[in-house]
Amino acid sequence: MLPATAPLPPLALLPQAFCVVSSSGRPPPLSGGTWAWRVGIGPWGGQGRGWRSWLGLAVVACSLRSPHHHRRVLPLLGGAASSKVWFPFSGVCAPSGHLSSDPELYVEFGLRPAEPSNMNSPSAQFLTSTRMGIYELNKHLGLWRDSFKVDSSQNTGVSTIVKADRIIDQRLEDSQELPGPAEEFDQEANKPNDKISRRLAQNREAARKSRLRKKAYIQQLESSRMKLTQLEQELERARQQGAYVGGSSGDSLVGMSTINTGVATFEMEYGHWIEEQNKQICALRAALQAHASDIELRILVESSLNHYDELFQMKALAAKADVFYLMSGMWKTSAERFFLWIGGFRPSEVLKVLRPKLDPLTEQQVMAVYNLQQSSQQAEDALSQGMDKLQQTLAETLASDPLGASDVANYMGQMATAMAKLDALVSFVNQADHLRQQTLQQMYRILTMRQSARGLLALGDYFQRLRALSSLWAARPREPA
């Protein structure tokens, strides 16, 4: 491998290089039959000399005249002159044309492990490489000029290794075993850099992992969003067409598809409501455990109350579609159904259950909660009496003298009256839900933000347990028939 004989132009220093060579002539040939150029670079236009030995500068440069040798690996060596240690590095030069006067000249510079075996292979891998245009090199040179003084005494061929850049150090670390002499020189300085580079690597790893996690989460969100829009479209379609046959309504007839639509819609929406409810319960629990501020709790409390409002709205629509379905509580789990009162929970009972969870309460609060409980009880009793009256009148309407002269008009009249009575059932369910809503609102007014959060958590948790109980009950081992 013969080097080109053209003199190296005083190119520039590459900040990532660190080796410097004396400006003496050719180095002694190295093992393996390779040889190296040692080049030094001095301040550009400094002392007027093309070559300078220089602190911590190295340059890789080559020039080739013939175009078809536009890529050639030139193993280059540099080293510290002070200890006469040679730190091997090599570079690849790929000039695109002529020499330094050609602005298109690029220097490709890289480091690779200094295995002697590597030296011989021109296609050896380079750990890193960098490319710089000639003007970039000039810039870097300018920086160096400012930070280093030209010392004419340097011209005597003594040069030192200076680690010009931490990046170089990293490359050193990355590379395999350095030759002995170089190692012993660099050992001290390597240790802290070891830690630094390790830490940097860890950071990179952590950053990569968190990027992956973020990506996965976003994908999950996207797919849920798509699912949601799909469901909403289905819902819309089902509502419009009224052809959706579903739900557990036992008395669904083929012709009464509108009723089924309402029921099916409600069932689907209720399922979503439960899912959202579970999330909100978790959020409340987490916030209370983390001792979140009142402002943060307020957000959770208000969204929880709004969530209940949504349920009442859904129930109002379902009541119009099929009030018996709602009254039967078929949409609830079995244990919840046990406590059913006019299509839902009984407010005073729930208040009794939750009251101890809210302690400590002030005197005023104790009174207020007690009064609320009483008022709710009274309102519930009134509605229950109204329901009893409804049952009674319905029974009276349908009961007729079976032996009497039955005529069609009478019969139809009876049925019409009975149907009208059933409409009243809708208003009862609505009133009961209104009572539930008002109870929640009043509690929110009586309690502090934290107490409200605790109360809503307790309420949600209570119903969650009822639902869990229902599942356990459904899954209980049955005796063989």
């Binding site: 207020a368 009793d381 009134a382 409804l390 009575k421 009862f428 209104h434």
Partner: protein
């Protein structure tokens, strides 16, 4: 309208209802349990009942006009309004003020 106002002023608590309405029954039961001496007017038994029903429906902005509650001659509203007032603790002072209740 005048008839409504006149009737409403006759007693501290006046309820307009229909005999077949079960929600009216619930409201009556409620006031009874509160110890309130109310006056109930069955609009289906009143010759001018139909007009009154329409007026009340317009007043409340609802299709079902009954039950409608007046306390101290002033319009309170229907069942949900009464319930809201009661739960918030405002109904009892209102009743006391109108002289419907002494406890």
């Amino acid at each position: 309208m005048d008839r409504i106002v006149r009737l409403a002023s006759q007693r501290a608590v006046v309820i307009f209802s229909t005999s077949s309405c079960c929600m009216c029954h619930a409201i009556k039961a409620f006031f009874h349990d509160q110890g309130v001496n109310y006056a109930a007017h069955e609009l289906d038994e009143d010759p001018q009942g139909r007009d009154m029903e329409m007026t009340l429906a317009r007043l409340l902005g609802r299709s079902t006009p009954v039950p409608v509650v007046f306390i101290g001659g002033k319009l309170v509203g229907s069942t949900d309004r009464v319930m809201s007032l009661h739960l918030s603790g405002k109904l009892t002072p209102m009743l006391r003020e109108a002289g419907a209740k002494w406890l």
